[in-house]
Symmetry: C2
Subunit: 621 residues, 2 copies
């Protein structure tokens, strides 16, 4: 049993040995938990290549090696567009989505594909981020590959493949093969996700489950997941998640026809805002009000119409999540990305929208120009949208509270929504958004003649928020560190553009680890400590989470434990990794747990009480 | 005399009253200094419209009102391209450069034009920034104006003007007129800059000069200017600057033919870096070295050739600055902007470069794609360039030291270069760049058999630098706060993209002042304090400056005085403003001056001694 190969079998060997030796009392539970490599647990979930077939492919058909951005193995037909990937999946064929880079519009294709291959972008690019969240195999930034959408070809190392040819990618090693390679679901996935194997039939599952439960005995950090869809949430629960730490509502905006309503909303948002401002100025002047209504009738009709269309759709989304989470807390982040990310591409997409909405092609095109940003990361996004367009915050808040009330009524179970305001830098921003959320919740509670506990908190994802955390905590019932953006702003380093200098930086020893994978403790970490201190000073016991990609990184998890966070939130398929890492951190730093920390906290009931005092009581529960 | 109109005459009235009453002993010098509005001194330098003619223009030809981004009045012929502005100026005609937005490529056109008008961009956009530095009249972000480059027209409020028609802009009010309006140089400019009036003939100048000298008696902050060209530097000295706080070397890259050498350098930089890495790996393997030389011969020839061409050109630039500054310190920032900013536009520009360098059009185009960045503000720029391409740092260092040696020899005067490494976030970055600078300086000193004092320091412009200032100060002999970028990163807010949400933010009271004009004290200011503390702890008396646009803002200057900075650096035409503001700050907070502060400091001799101890001695001089 000790004679195992390194690589894919390490994690399997670890859980089996730990299980057997603890059962035989040859090892203490502490030792068993300490001795595992959390990172390696990824391997238990990743689909795998048949090793003989992969070797053969490596000899004959290796195209290139990209960045291993989502572990596992995927083999399928090349799809150069999301649509093609969807078509292939719909017809029962396996697809590998190959793109120069991916954007939110490719989401459905990414879901449909077995794996994702990109020519551009780093381990934290859109493709890699979404892939990890879905537990999808991904090789990113394979720069030697050149993709030509016009000829529908993919070329590399002198070979040219066409859309429809086979390709295989190994997201654990980054290798890309120009042919089909045999794959299969990991055993653990067969038990936990596809349920094609019974728990009692899998020794591996039993060993894994035993080790995870051991880990839970020591762990003091709570464990949440980043999930937007019920099936992702269900997977995360199967892996041990105790709540959702980040639901990105914008991912929901792309599904089905709703994207057209989103676009309709965006198209008329600015005019509607003008109308709102002028109407507010006109006050009691009825004649002027009526003339404004006439002048802006198109904007009013489209903007409010689009919001009305989106409201029940978002409500349904949230209902699905609340039901799946069955009483566990769900942190929902309000709209975050810049609006131009939702616009259609020029050409047929824009033409179709123009016809559907009765708006000229030129107007849609002009909007694209007007929304163009030099640095979208630092642009009109996050709560800056909700401040300029409060109607969007209102719609999303209403969808959340209505969904919560509906699910509570239907299931009789608790529903624990936590509304999260993104990109706050000034306490006044949070205050303005909070007023809307609280007003809408109160309105719906009154209508339903019942209420339920909820929290409103904020992301800490720009340096100013960390520095002024003592001001922000007066309004925020929880903090969640958005360490992706906090790293980008603190280091002045764009994740998506760092591919040109981060590799030499690592080579020269300027950075020890990729700061987008493992938290930069002396920089970003110091700001986090300042924020924790500021938050605790004003609202003792404040709930503190992390929901950046770092939340699934063992070294970062240890740091989060040390500085006293309440929970970490990570991609569903990273939950086992985080579970073991959190236990190891607790064993290593037994006194570092947050004053009122404990697993119970992540799952503890939020409250609608709005004072710091009662928030403390909640956190202490 | 007390019956003056508000507006243009306020500053004139102020200096005259202060002068007369202090001379008559009816007012104390303290009171005279305290009672002025520093901001208003701008008016003394701005070209002015004939008030009768402007009123007539307002009645008949007002097109729109944009953002007042560079005070003063400009009237001239519409030039829609930088080239056209240059042509008009060359033929002795006054031009107003009208662009949708400006980019560094427009620099020569901006210099040639009387004024600049942009349809897009805020008060801190490229146009506004450069305009203020040049003391050029500018109206930015006049959103109602639509410029069509293909038809060479400018339309607004139903009127369409053609390139060649007259236009006039008032950079103090933001007003844009569709006709010629009479203008003249301000009296102070006639005395100090154009020298068309003798000092003794101008009562206004004498009053101004008297008040400025009074201010200097109280001021403890040093005063520097941001200037890249000898004439800008000379203007700044005329206004009272004691040194250059920021010379942006990249502005020099655009002049004349040299841009082609810059482009040649960029085109082959990546291949040359590959060659360097492979050659380093091959070490003593002579055969491999020779084969690499063959393989990369084109990259080696072009890259090193371009650097050799640029070296003497940059040296000449620095010689001009050093001569003009005549013994005053000159802070030179190494290359900062992302390389794609230097590439030619597609079409004829790229074709011409292709022919000139014998490089295919496609290769230049492909480089543009490969250098494209999602968030250039946070991309491959600053010292990240010098780390990946150390040859560029070497060339610039050599140009600086050779220029310093040459001017010292020629004039017999001191030359005080201060080399500034931009965008440092990690002390290791600074260390690597410092090694190059110090090596090159030592080489040139040895060759010249003489030496001269110099400093190497860094910008503090990203939050991580402020947070780890105690580490960085171990290597940096001075800090200069780059508050433009520090504000962008600390607030997670792109200056150029903030136009959509900053106006509502100011309306709603979320921000009190525009954070790109007046420092955000609770956010950015706190980081500055952390950096000052960290720097002082490790290198007591470290020279501390500010070179962002904020350096010319009175409220910010007061803050800089309070936190103990050594000097402020601002655009040449803001120097009088800063001079009065710094004096007022010293009167308001007499005990807040830096431990070793004093006007002498900004002008004090730097040293080549590299220990913190001797740096302290320098600062204390």
């Amino acid at each position: 049993m000790l004679q195992t190969r390194h690589g894919k079998r390490t994690a399997q060997a670890y859980v089996k040995i730990a299980h057997d030796m603890v059962k035989a009392k040859l090892m203490t539970p502490e030792h068993a938990v300490r001795s595992g490599d959390p990172q390696a647990l990824d391997q238990l979930l990743a689909p795998i290549f048949d090793s003989v077939d992969e070797k053969a492919a490596e000899a004959s058909s290796l195209l290139t090696t990209g960045l291993p951005a989502g572990p596992g193995a995927a083999s399928g037909i090349i799809a150069l567009t999301a649509k093609k990937a969807e078509e292939l999946a719909a017809s029962g064929q396996k697809a590998v989505l190959c793109r120069i880079e991916t954007s939110p519009e490719d989401l459905r294709g990414m879901i449909a594909a077995e794996g994702i291959l990109t020519a551009r972008g780093g381990v934290s690019s859109h493709a890699a981020l979404v892939a990890r969240q879905m537990g999808k195999v991904c090789v990113a930034g394979a720069g030697e590959i050149s993709i030509d959408y016009t000829t529908s070809t993919l070329s590399c190392s002198g070979r040219t493949l066409r859309e429809g040819d086979f390709i295989a990618i190994n997201g654990t090693t980054g290798k890309v093969y120009g042919r089909k390679v045999k794959t299969s679901d990991s055993e653990l996935k067969q038990v936990l996700i596809s349920k094609t194997m019974k728990p009692q039939d899998s020794e591996l599952f039993q060993a894994y489950d035993f080790v995870m439960k051991l880990a839970d005995k020591f762990r003091t950090l709570g464990l949440r997941t980043n999930a937007d869809q019920p099936d992702q949430a269900a997977n995360a629960i199967a892996f041990g998640a105790e709540g959702i730490g980040l639901c990105r509502t914008e991912h929901m905006f792309f599904e089905g026809d709703r994207i057209d309503s989103v676009r309709e909303m965006i198209l008329f948002a600015e005019d509607y805002a003008k109308y709102r401002a002028e109407a507010a100025e006109a006050r009691d002047d009825a004649a002027r009000q009526s003339s404004l209504k006439g002048q802006y009738s198109q904007a009013i009709e489209h903007f409010t119409g689009a919001l009305s269309t989106l409201l029940p759709i978002q409500q349904k989304d949230f209902e699905g999540l609340f039901e799946t989470m069955a009483g566990r807390p769900v942190t929902i982040r309000l709209l975050d990305p810049p609006l131009h990310e939702f616009l259609p591409q020029a050409g047929p997409q824009t033409e179709a929208l123009s016809k559907k909405l009765g708006v000229s092609y030129e107007r849609i095109e002009a909007l694209g120009h007007s929304l163009h940003e030099f640095n979208p990361m630092l642009g009109h996004r996050g709560c800056r949208l909700g401040i300029v367009y409060p109607e969007i915050t209102e719609m999303q808040s209403r969808a959340i509270v209505r969904a919560a009330l509906a699910v509570a009524k239907k299931t009789g179970k608790k529903v624990l929504p936590e509304v999260m305001i993104p990109l706050v830098g000034f306490v006044a921003e949070l205050k303005l958004q909070l007023e809307i959320v609280n007003r809408v919740f109160a309105e719906e509670f009154a209508k339903a003649k019942t209420k339920l506990p909820y929290l409103v908190g904020t992301m800490i994802e720009i340096p100013r928020a960390a520095i002024t955390a003592h001001e922000i905590a007066a309004e925020a019932e929880f903090f969640s560190f958005g360490t992706n953006d906090l790293t980008q702003t603190t280091l002045g380093m764009s994740r998506d553009d760092s591919g040109k200098f981060l590799p030499p930086y690592q080579k020269l020893g300027i950075v020890k680890a990729n700061p987008f994978a493992t938290i930069d403790q002396s920089g970003v970490g110091e700001l986090m400590k300042i924020a924790v201190k500021g938050g605790e000073a004003v609202r003792p016991g404040i709930k503190l989470g992390i929901c950046g990609e770092h939340g699934g990184d063992p070294t970062t998890i240890e740091f989060c434990h040390q500085i006293g966070l309440t929970y970490v939130s990570c991609s569903p398929f990273r939950v086992p990794v985080a579970r073991l890492a959190a236990a190891q951190a607790a064993l290593k730093y037994p006194s570092a747990a947050a004053p009122a920390a404990g697993k119970a906290k992540a799952g503890s009931a939020p409250t609608s009480a709005k004072s710091a005092k009662s928030a403390k009581a909640v956190a202490a529960r």
